[in-house]
């Protein structure tokens, strides 16, 4: 899908957090990196209308996030930085089923798709567990599963590996690599970007570098430390 930012600024009160950013995202694997507070999460939230531009426009396909936010949110899946806010029902399996029920997937197919998605992420055993009693990493995987099971056209990941152990981090890397959809990944885990098509480096609300990971990651490391 084509996501286009045209001269987008985001201001919170007196602070300018994103400053006249123009960029067109069409590649399948896009990474966004940058220092703490550089504006990554804000950038991500622009892509599904959770934050609206103070100036400029964000187009997702042909829709403007300022007008068609609801429709856009169905097409752009979003995995939040904090998984707590993303698991909305009391049991893990109910939570995954929730989105499917809303989109009118036939009742009979739902349990199968839920099981399949959980197995894909290696967390089939969590199906019947209460959501609040999961460990941090378990929550992160469940939140991810709940978004992927919806099969959105584009998936935005805001730091998807923060709470994961080695094995699950590798698994997630494989899952992202295998996704048929477009993926936008914001992360401090630079190794996650191997094989990506394009990496943006944010610095104080501007795109400071834009290129393939092969050059962008070293550029970031050199300029950042």
């Amino acid at each position: 899908m084509r996501i286009a930012l045209d001269a987008v600024s985001v201001r919170f009160g007196p602070r300018t957090v994103l400053d006249a950013v123009s960029v067109e995202l069409t590649e399948r694997r896009i990474g966004v990196i940058g220092a703490n507070g550089s504006g990554k999460s804000t950038f991500a939230r622009l892509l599904n209308g959770l934050v609206l531009p103070s100036a400029g426009t964000v187009l997702v396909g042909a829709d403007d996030t300022a007008r068609d936010a609801r429709r856009i949110r169905r097409r752009v899946g979003f995995v939040f930085q904090n998984p707590d806010n993303q698991i909305v029902l009391p049991l893990v399996e109910e939570d995954l089923a929730f989105g499917l029920r809303n989109t009118g997937v036939p009742r009979k197919e739902i349990p199968g798709r839920v099981r399949e998605q959980l197995a894909d992420l290696g967390i089939a055993a969590l199906a019947g567990r209460p959501s609040h009693a999961l460990s941090g990493g378990e929550k992160q995987l469940v939140a991810l599963a709940a978004v992927l099971v919806m099969r959105p056209e584009t998936v935005v990941f805001d730091e998807p590996t923060t709470l994961l152990d080695l094995r699950n981090r590798n698994r997630l890397r494989a899952v992202i690599a295998a996704l048929p959809q477009q993926a936008v990944v914001l992360t401090h885990d630079l190794g996650l970007l191997d094989g990506f098509d394009r990496v943006l480096v944010l610095d104080e609300g501007r795109i400071a570098y834009d290129g393939p990971p092969r050059t962008a990651v070293p550029w970031y490391v050199a300029h950042h430390s």
Partner: protein
Amino acid sequence: MSLYVPGTSPLHRVPAGWKLAVLLLCGVAVFLTRSVTLLGPAAGLALVLLLTVRAPREQLARQLRGPLWILAAVVAVAALTESGHAALVVGLRLVILLLTALSVTLTTRTSELQGVLEVMLRPLDRAGLVNAPAVALAVSLALRFIPEVFQQFQEIREAQAARGLRGSPLALVVPLVIRVLRSAEDIAAAIDARCYPPARSRHPDRDDRLSGKAPG
């Protein structure tokens, strides 16, 4: 977290709708009589009913302790200011209501009651008075977030205790409320991202701007 006690007693096997209907009748009936010869055996029956449920003793104690104290206070006031008979009538009525309602609560799954609720809401939903799916979602959301909010509460208290503060309600509740307001934005976004409300809902897609906080 429900009060339901798993079991196979006769009361467990009665459909939830029936239990509620009988309970309602019972609630009306006890106020139609002041006869101790009727109320007395009825209270005994209610007690037997509760015992057939075979609930754990602590569970029963927790549910009954508070109400029984209040009951005792009420009976005492009635006995002192009115008559022994009046006190007995009040006491028996409340005992009957308390015990039968508890028997139903202990033997009925939350999900069954939710089912009854849905049936009762259906006509209201059709009349456009209530949005039944929204009520159902609200119940589920509350169940999901009660433990989470409680945990946040404890962590905030914990963090404050570690920093030398004890028992300042203001310092405890302000951060909790702000957290709740903030997370509501994300939770709502997560729900919308999962295509709520469902397409065939009576409520057409309105583009209700999520956050009053969003810029623009």
